[in-house]
């Protein structure tokens, strides 16, 4: 490549358009995402905890949705849980591993909340309420359209978010206890 060619290329590159309008409006997708329960700025470790919970409960997370044979009956989940009406259509259901993990975390929730400051407790409760509202609304939509893959994916996302919040509460209180110990 000669110096002349190099210079010609540089000049041409500077003339390239840097602002390009997308062919479609990307805002609706962004709006949907930012309307979902917002990650709080509790502590960076909570984001890691949220990731860990998905790893620790790999079997749970992966088996959120268990493919059922058509000859198998639809499995009913525990009625005392928020996801009692959960439905992933005619062929899928929440896995028992997820239910166990959630039950364990839920059982500890009140105890863990008591250890938090009022502000943190309010934020946790607000986050959980948002998630529960989402689950309720998605389930209502699924009743009308039980095999809608998009709704099923959103429901799965909402359950993951709930599990993430519950796990973060545990991480919060452990940190509180560590500080008290010192």
């Amino acid at each position: 490549m000669t110096e002349f060619e190099d210079d010609k290329l540089t000049q041409a590159a500077k003339r390239l358009t840097t602002e390009i309008r997308p062919e479609r409006d990307l805002w609706p997708g962004i709006a949907n995402a930012i309307d979902a329960p917002r990650r709080s700025g509790w502590m960076p470790t909570f984001a890691q905890a949220a990731a860990i919970v998905l790893l620790v409960g790999a079997s749970s997370a992966v088996t959120y949705v268990t493919v059922k044979g058509q000859q198998q009956p639809f499995r009913q989940v525990s009625p005392d849980l928020i996801f009692e009406q959960a439905s992933f259509g005619s062929r899928y259901n929440l896995g028992p591993g997820f239910q166990d993990a959630r039950s364990a975390l839920t059982a500890q929730l009140d105890v863990e909340l008591e250890r938090l400051s009022p502000e943190s407790r309010a934020e946790v409760e607000r986050n959980l309420e948002l998630v529960h509202t989402a689950i309720f609304e998605i389930n209502q939509a699924l009743e009308q359209n039980p095999d809608n893959a998009l709704l099923q994916a959103k429901l799965l996302m909402a359950y993951r978010e709930e599990l993430s919040v519950l796990r973060r509460v545990g991480g919060l209180t452990r940190n509180v206890m560590m500080r008290n110990d010192i």
């Binding site: 060619e5 500077k14 358009t17 602002e19 997308p22 709006a31 995402a33 930012i34 709704l151």
Partner: protein, 200 residues
């Protein structure tokens, strides 16, 4: 939470009534409002900057659908990180950095994804062509065919004017590596364009 199911109707027009003279002041106001979780102010910021961010993502990925995903991810990241924006740099620069990180993060996340982008870049109709002047379309298409690292350096340095230090910092490589990749990019581009009788 209903927005999980349906997109809310846009109602940002009241945020977009200013003239360009007031754009800087408007932007600062929108940033402040968005930092207080005003979604419509953030939408105004999106409308103001989306062409810049999408342009960067499209240049870096060479693929329309990837660029759309990266743009959306970048703005979602920006929303989540808005509280940390202190105005040390221009908001556009801050967004640029987030967009670059988003592109790189997505490509690192899955090598298969990266391969797919490369393949698509080689075979898909040139998505950038209509945005550039006629004599630059060949260059745009040639940039799309560059290997990822060389393309990223060329786009940031030669197209967007970042220094090698800045480009290297954004890409997580040394400035010397950035220079080497730029040289490689220019050599590959020259080879491609010579074959096509490029005249800029």
């Amino acid at each position: 939470m209903a927005a999980l199911l349906t997109a809310n109707a846009s109602d940002y027009s009241q945020y977009m009534v200013s003239t360009s003279r007031d754009a800087v002041a408007d932007e600062a106001a929108w940033i402040g409002q968005a930092q207080r979780s005003d979604r419509r102010a953030f939408e105004a910021l999106y409308r103001l900057h989306v062409d810049k961010i999408y342009g960067l993502c499209l240049r870096m990925t060479g693929n329309v659908s990837e660029a759309e995903d990266c743009t959306q991810d970048a703005f979602i990241q920006a929303w989540n990180k808005l509280g940390k924006f202190r105005g040390d740099s221009a908001f556009a620069t801050w967004l640029h950095r987030i967009a670059v990180n988003t592109v790189l993060g997505r490509m690192r996340k899955s090598k298969r994804e990266q391969d797919r982008i490369e393949v698509l870049a080689d075979t898909a109709p040139a998505p950038l062509a209509s945005n550039d002047a006629g004599d630059l379309r060949d260059l745009s298409e040639a940039i799309n065919r560059l290997p990822a690292r060389a393309r990223h350096v060329f786009v940031l340095h030669a197209v967007y004017g970042y220094s090698h230090d800045e480009a290297g910092h954004m890409l997580g490589i040394a400035a010397g590596t950035s220079k080497a990749q730029l040289h490689r990019a220019r050599r590959l581009l020259s080879q491609q364009l010579t074959q096509q009788g490029f005249e800029a």
